[in-house]
């Protein structure tokens, strides 16, 4: 990023290649729709490009880019533009290398998960996804979501509690889950 700040366009392209899929998948899980996630991911990189002078090297670049991505997705969700009511629309753009059977089962699983994620308060969803899929520490997530570490602990805990209730039928020992989390 520092090389890009110094004027290297090639450095930006490297960053783009490095983070493209991660940002896209984060947006897909947040927004629950492939096409909108692609557009959101592009928006994030355009924002990074536009605001290159505002980056300060006092935080990791990964934290910075996920901060931009989280803010962007949270804004989109807040505007309700990307809140889908029909989960039939979810993940309905199979990727190029799927066979129909695995694509169907994956699509079904994604629908179930995406619906559960969508029902979470947006900030809980973002905190959980960053912890789980990006392997970020609570501290980095706190920085990305502009809140405290203790708030993140609470957000992640509540997100998991809610998800366990929502996905109780999909989990092992399903019948016990509802009691366990109450």
């Amino acid at each position: 990023m520092l090389a890009f700040q110094a004027g290297s366009e090639e450095a930006f392209v490297k960053l783009y290649r490095l983070y493209r899929d991660r940002i896209f998948n984060f947006a897909r899980r947040m927004l629950g729709d492939q096409a909108q996630a692609e557009e959101a991911a592009q928006d994030v990189f355009l924002k990074i490009y536009r605001a290159k002078d505002r980056y300060r090297a006092n935080s990791k670049f990964s934290t910075y880019i996920f901060r931009v991505a989280s803010n962007h997705c949270l804004n989109l969700l807040a505007r309700k533009e990307h809140r889908l009511t029909d989960h039939g629309e979810m993940a309905d753009h199979p990727s190029n290398n799927d066979d129909p059977e695995s694509s169907a089962s994956r699509s079904q699983l994604r629908s179930i998960i995406a619906e559960a994620v969508r029902d979470l308060p947006s900030k809980q969803a973002a905190a959980l996804l960053l912890c789980l899929h990006e392997g970020m520490t609570y501290r980095d997530v706190a920085e990305a979501l502009d809140t405290s570490e203790s708030a993140i602990k609470s957000l992640v805990f509540r997100a998991r509690e809610t998800m366990m209730k929502k996905l109780s039928t999909q989990l092992p020992g399903a019948e016990e889950v509802a009691h366990a989390v109450q």
């Binding site: 899980r29 536009r50 699983l109 992640v156 366990m164 020992g173 366990a180 989390v181």
Partner: protein, 160 residues
């Protein structure tokens, strides 16, 4: 230890590794509810991680670089305007504070003055929010500001 504390401890250890709190471990040995929670914590993550990363569709890069080129062609006028927001916020904050201080203490505050101060404070809060936003969002909000609001703010700045 309560179940809730034990479960929070389990989530933290689950996320960041390390050894489990001994008190939580002791509680877990004798608590069926927390044992079920522990099992389902693993199950939930397994389920969520089954949503494996997907790939962008063909043409994504082409579309992105086309958008990037479009952006490069645009003049950076919005960026210049953005630089005005922070100084303007500071100046207006100082202006409003000055007005409040100059007005001095009142023995019998009337509703009209309170309302005016509240309106100013509300505008200040708006500007603080704007200064914390990304440039795009900030200008969307700035665009919504009433012309009279901006004129009032600028007048106060001049008075100061």
């Amino acid at each position: 230890m309560q179940c809730n504390e034990c479960q929070r401890s389990m989530v933290m250890t689950h996320d960041h590794g390390g050894t489990r709190d001994p008190q939580a471990e002791t509680h877990l040995q004798g608590c069926v509810t927390c044992q079920t929670f522990a099992r389902n914590l693993q199950g939930l993550d397994g389920l969520l991680l089954a949503d494996t990363p997907d790939q962008v569709r063909p043409g994504f890069d082409t579309r992105f670089f086309a958008r990037l080129n479009e952006q490069r062609k645009q003049p950076a006028r919005r960026w210049h305007l953005w630089h005005l927001v922070a100084p303007l916020t500071g100046a207006v904050a100082a202006g409003v504070l000055g007005v409040i201080l100059l007005a001095g203490p009142r023995t019998a505050p009337d509703l009209g003055d309170d309302l005016e101060v509240a309106m100013h404070l509300e505008m200040l809060e708006d500007l603080e929010v704007i200064s914390n936003l990304e440039d795009t969002e900030a200008f969307e909000i700035l665009a919504k500001l009433d012309e009279d609001d901006l004129r009032t703010l600028l007048t106060e700045e001049e008075m100061q």
